[in-house]
Amino acid sequence: MGLTDLLEEKKVIICCGSGGVGKTSIAAALAIKGAMMGKKTMALTIDPAKRLADSLGLKPKGNEETPIPLKNLGLIPGQDSGSLHAMLLDRRASWDELVVKYAPNEEIGKNILNNQFYKSLSHTFAGSQEYLAMEKLYDLYINRKYDLIIVDTPPTKHTLDFLEVPQRMTDFLDRKIIKWFMLPYFSAGRLGLKLLGKTGLFIFRRLEDATGIYVLKDISEFFLNLSSMIDGTIERMRKTSEVLRNKQTAFFLITSPEASVLAEANYFLRRVKELNIPLAAVIINKVNVVPEGIVNDNGLREIKALVKERWGLEKGLGERLVDNFLQFQLLARADKKRIQSFKQTLPSNQIMIYQVPCLEKDLHAINGLLTLNQYLFAGGGNYGNT
C-alpha cells in the first residue's frame, strides 16, 4: 500500500519521531496532499517553526480550528470537496486546564489547584502535552467534521507513552490505592487498617520514615479531590486509546539517517512492537544523496583536471570545491549504509519506507512542502527486509 492509498483509506495519521527530523513539515505536507486529494483535512500541530506557521497563515493563538484556504497557498485542489484546516496546540496548556475541565464542580477544581502538593509538583509532571494532543484528536475525531486528521506529535521519545496512559491511570487511581494514600489523613481508621493489612501498614510507615514524605495531608486531600473526577477521565482516555488503535488510524515514524536519530527510531520501533501499534510507514528525511560519485584516486585526478580545464579557477579553489564534494560524498555513503542496516531491523515487510533527500531551499514555504510531496508521492517507497 502506497502513501496515496494510506491517505485515501485512513482517517487519522499520527506522525511521531525525534525532534529535528522535519516532522512538522512532513505532517504539513501530508495534510496539503490530503486536501488536494479532495479530503476535508485537519492538521493538528504542536510547535511549527515561525516561517511554516507564517506561510500557512497560522496564527499563534492556540487551540482554534483555523481554515487555510488552498487558494491562498496558490493551490487548486483536485476535487472541490478538499479543504485544509489547522490547529496549533497551545504549548503552555497545562494540567491546570485539565483540572478545571474535569472537576465535577468549581470548588473541587479550586481545591486541587490550591493544593500545595499539586502546585509544586504539577509543573514537573511529564506528558501534559501528549495527553492534550490526544484529547484534541479525540474531540476532532468524534466530531466527524474531517475526513482526515494528521497529527504532529511532541518531539520526545516518550510520545508513545500516552497509549499506556489509560491503563496506568486505571492502575494508579484504583480506589484501593487512593484509600491507602488517604490513610494517614484519617489516622489509619478501621477501614484503612483492614485494607492495608498489618504488613502493608508497616511497610508504608517505614517508607514514610525513610523518605520523609509522611506529611501526607496534602497528598490525601489531593487524591480525595481527584477521585471525584476519575471515572469520566478514564473513560475518555480509554476511548482515545481505542481511536489510536483502530483500523482507520496509521502511525508514521519520521526519522533522519543520523546515527543518534536512528538509535531513537529503533527505540520507537521497540515501543511500537510492545504496544502493538499499527505502524504503516517510515519516512527517512534529510538524507544526503550523491547520485554520481568519485570512486577512486584515478577518478579524483581526472575530475580535478576537468575542474581546472572547464572552470579555470584561481589556485587551489577548484581543489577545495572538489574536496567539499568529497565531504558530502562521505556523508552520503555513510547515510546509505546506516539506512541499509536500519531497514534490516524493521519488524515486517508491511511497513513502507520512504526517503527524502536533504532539501536545501526553505522547506517552510509552500513550495518546499510541495517538493517534499514530490519525493513522498511520486517515486513510491520500498519495503524493509527486502
Binding site: 517553526a49 511497610i203 508504608f204 525513610a210 506529611v215
Partner: protein, 309 residues
C-alpha cells in the same frame, strides 16, 4: 558539576564526551553520567554499554555512569534501612511500587540525588573528593528541566523529613555557581535556537540556576572564504554529472553557512553566556578521532575566552 542540556539530535552526548576528554587530558578524574532511559555514551568511546546504576571506566580517567532513578532510590533506601530483611520485604512488596509511582517526581529527585551523592564521595586514601569533575548528559530539554527543577519542587512540597533535607542539599549544590554550571548545546538552526533562548530564560529567571556555556554544534563553513565562487555556467556541462554535483554541493554548503550565520547572530545578540562554536564534522560516525577534534576546538576557544575576558 557540568550539566549538558539541549534539544534531541543536537549532539549533547558528543559535547559531553569531548568535555570529559578535555578534563581527562588535564589529569582530572571525571565522572560522565547519563540521565536517560537508554544509555548511549559508551558507544562514543567504543565501549560495551554500561549497566544501569553501574560505573565503568570508558577511557583513562573517565568513568561512565548510567543513572536510573528507581535504582538510585533503592540504593538510597538501602543505606537508610539498615535491616536486610526489611529491605527485601519492602522492595518486593506491591506497596513499594505504588509508593514510587504515586509520588510524582520521586524518581527524578533520586536521580539528581545520586549525582549529589557522587559529588560527596571521597577517595578513601587521600580524603579528597573522588571526582574532580562530574559531567551530566541529560535527556531532551523538557525532560532535563524536570530533573533539574525537582529538588526545588520537593523542597517546597515537603516541609520536613529526609526528602526535604536531601532536596535542600541537592539544591544547594546545583544552585551554587562555584560548583555547578548548566550548559546548553544547540545547532545553528531556527527551532533549536528558539528552544535555547527559551531554556536560558527559564534557567536564569525562573529557576535561578547558574548558566554556563552555550555550545553551537554542527556549524557549516565553506572551505573557501567569502562568496560562492563564480563558475562559468556549470550547468552547461550536461555530459558531466560530476561537475554538476560539485557545483550543487558547493551551493549547499554556502546555503547552510548563510542560514547558520543568521542563527549564530541571533544567539550572540540575545544571550548573556559565552558561546563556543563547533564546526560540522564530516565523518561517517563520531569516534574517538572526531571527539578529539572537537576537544581541541573547545580547548582553543576556552583559551581565547579567558584571554578576552
Amino acid at each position: 558539576m557540568l550539566f549538558i542540556i539541549g534539544k534531541g539530535g543536537v549532539g549533547k552526548s558528543t559535547i559531553a564526551a569531548a568535555l570529559a576528554l578535555l578534563a581527562a587530558q588535564r589529569g582530572k578524574k571525571t565522572l560522565l553520567a547519563e540521565l536517560d532511559t537508554e544509555e548511549s555514551i559508551s558507544f562514543l568511546f567504543g565501549s560495551p554499554s554500561i549497566e544501569k546504576a553501574n560505573k565503568k571506566e570508558l577511557y583513562p580517567g573517565i568513568y561512565g555512569l548510567h543513572v536510573d532513578g528507581k535504582a538510585a532510590l533503592e540504593e538510597y533506601l538501602g543505606i537508610i534501612l539498615k535491616s536486610q530483611r526489611l529491605k527485601e520485604l519492602i522492595f518486593r512488596s506491591k506497596t513499594y511500587n505504588y509508593f514510587v509511582s504515586a509520588a510524582p517526581g520521586l524518581k527524578e529527585l533520586m536521580a539528581v540525588g545520586k549525582l549529589w551523592y557522587e559529588e560527596q564521595l571521597q577517595d578513601e586514601r587521600t580524603g579528597s573528593p573522588l571526582w574532580d569533575l562530574i559531567i551530566v548528559d541529560t535527556p531532551a530539554t523538557g525532560h532535563a528541566l524536570q530533573y533539574i527543577r525537582m529538588p526545588k519542587a520537593a523542597y517546597d512540597s515537603f516541609a520536613t523529613g529526609v526528602v526535604h533535607r536531601e532536596a535542600k542539599r541537592v539544591l544547594d549544590l546545583i544552585a551554587d555557581p562555584e560548583k555547578t554550571l548548566l550548559n546548553i548545546v544547540t545547532t545553528a538552526e531556527e527551532m533549536p535556537v528558539n528552544e535555547t533562548l527559551d531554556v536560558v530564560d527559564k534557567i536564569r529567571k525562573k529557576a535561578n540556576l547558574p548558566l554556563g556555556y552555550i555550545f553551537i554544534n554542527k556549524i557549516f563553513t565553506p572551505l573557501w572564504s567569502g562568496e560562492m565562487p563564480s563558475l562559468p555556467n556549470p550547468y552547461n556541462s550536461p555530459e558531466n554529472g560530476l561537475l554538476r554535483s560539485i557545483c550543487h554541493w558547493a551551493e549547499v554548503v554556502m546555503e547552510r553557512w548563510v542560514r547558520n550565520k543568521i542563527q549564530i547572530d541571533r544567539l550572540e545578540s540575545k544571550l548573556p553566556a559565552p558561546l563556543i562554536k563547533i564546526p560540522y564534522i564530516f565523518s561517517a560516525e563520531i569516534t574517538m578521532k572526531e571527539l578529539l577534534i572537537i576537544t581541541r576546538e573547545i580547548e582553543s576557544q576556552l583559551k581565547q575566552l579567558v584571554i578576552s575576558h
